[in-house]
């Protein structure tokens, strides 16, 4: 319950404050958001599997975000930022799809 409320609160806050993204973070924020979404879906799947642990969730959440942003940062330094961020998005997208498929089986039994 608190989790759902937290998500709604975050969305509402973002809508209300309309914060500007700092210029340095601009390329990394979308990647970070996708990585965080991956962590959230992974957590939801684990929860439905009955093996959810909030410590694991917190760690995986932050490590996902940091690693994704670092990869893109490294890519930008190496001059392959665009391709590498595409690669990260693809990998995270595949993971999200897999997790959502598992969640779907739990919830809809199909």
């Amino acid at each position: 319950m608190i989790a759902v409320l937290g998500l709604l609160a975050g969305i509402v806050l973002g809508l209300i404050f309309k914060p500007d993204v700092p210029l340095g973070f601009e390329p990394y924020l979308p990647i970070a958001v996708v990585a965080a979404l991956d962590a959230v879906f992974g957590a939801l799947r684990a929860f439905l599997d009955g093996i959810f642990d909030d410590k694991v969730f917190v760690v995986s959440f932050f490590s996902n975000v940091v690693i994704a942003a670092s990869i893109v940062f490294l890519g930008d330094k190496l001059g392959v930022g665009a391709q590498l961020s595409t690669g990260v998005i693809v990998v995270l997208g595949i993971r999200i799809f897999t997790n959502v498929a598992m969640i779907r089986r739990h919830i809809f039994h199909a």
Partner: protein
């Protein structure tokens, strides 16, 4: 897991049995559970995700198309634009070339048409197929004794032609053209097969003074008419109208080459 469900409506029943909790059970339990540390942590993190996502969405919508692009992307876009504008310029040049060609061909066609039209009007005056008007003289030849010869009239025609007559007509009826014949029939002089009665009135278009002077010289047509008992008089109207035409039959034997 499906086997444990008695039916679509049997979830409540299945919950009570000893089977392990399903995903639905866990969600229902979590939504109704009392707040716990785990829930709070998850709530905070989800709030972070929602906040960041909305931030990104809004900055993405606010941004121009290009401001969020990387340098290499911008260079690629610029290259694409340069190529496109190059192609557009080539196209413009090609179309301009086509337009100039068309203009040239139009004007040359117009010139050809103009020339053809002029030639046509010249030829139709020569061939006597159109009514004609212009400066000239009206020559009246009387034949008091009925002795005027066809030779004399032919001589008149020849002298007028030599003086630059451009169109000629006898008695407002017979147009004189290149093929015109002059012959003496028993009933009178026939021009182009049409018998004419005296006095012979010749309308001539050309330079009036030259035409009038061309007939009057020693042993010229005027003298001959006088010898044959006739008179020649000249009138110079403001404009000479020649209304008779000849039917322009296409030639049967002669072909242009």
């Amino acid at each position: 897991m499906l086997d444990q469900q008695p039916g679509p409506d049997g979830d409540e029943v299945a919950e009570d049995t000893a089977s392990p909790p399903t995903g639905r059970d866990r969600i229902r339990a979590a939504l109704t559970a009392r707040p716990s540390r785990g829930q709070a942590v998850v709530g905070v993190l989800l709030a972070t995700v929602g906040f960041a996502a909305m931030t990104q969405v809004q900055s993405n919508e606010r941004d121009d198309t290009y401001s969020s692009l990387r340098q290499s992307d911008l260079i690629r876009v610029l290259d694409g634009l340069a190529g496109t504008s190059q192609r557009a310029e080539d196209e413009i040049n090609r179309l301009r070339q086509t337009r100039d060609d068309l203009r040239t061909s139009t004007s040359s066609r117009r010139a050809a048409l103009e020339q053809a039209r002029q030639e046509s009007s010249t030829l139709s005056i020569l061939a006597g197929t159109v009514p004609t008007v212009g400066p000239g003289v009206r020559i009246t030849i009387t034949d008091d004794r009925g002795e005027i010869q066809d030779d004399t009239l032919l001589d008149v025609i020849q002298e007028l032609r030599a003086a630059g007559a451009e169109a000629m007509e006898f008695n407002d009826r017979v147009r004189v053209i290149a093929q015109t014949s002059v012959e003496d029939t028993g009933a009178g002089i026939a021009i182009d097969g049409e018998v004419l009665d005296a006095p012979y009135v010749i309308d001539v278009i050309g330079e009036p003074t030259t035409l009038a002077g061309s007939l009057d010289f020693a042993t010229g047509p005027v003298d001959r008419v006088r010898d044959e008992g006739g008179t020649v008089s000249f009138a110079e109207p403001d404009e000479v109208r020649i209304d008779s035409v000849v039917e322009g039959d296409p030639p049967t034997y002669a072909q242009p080459r």
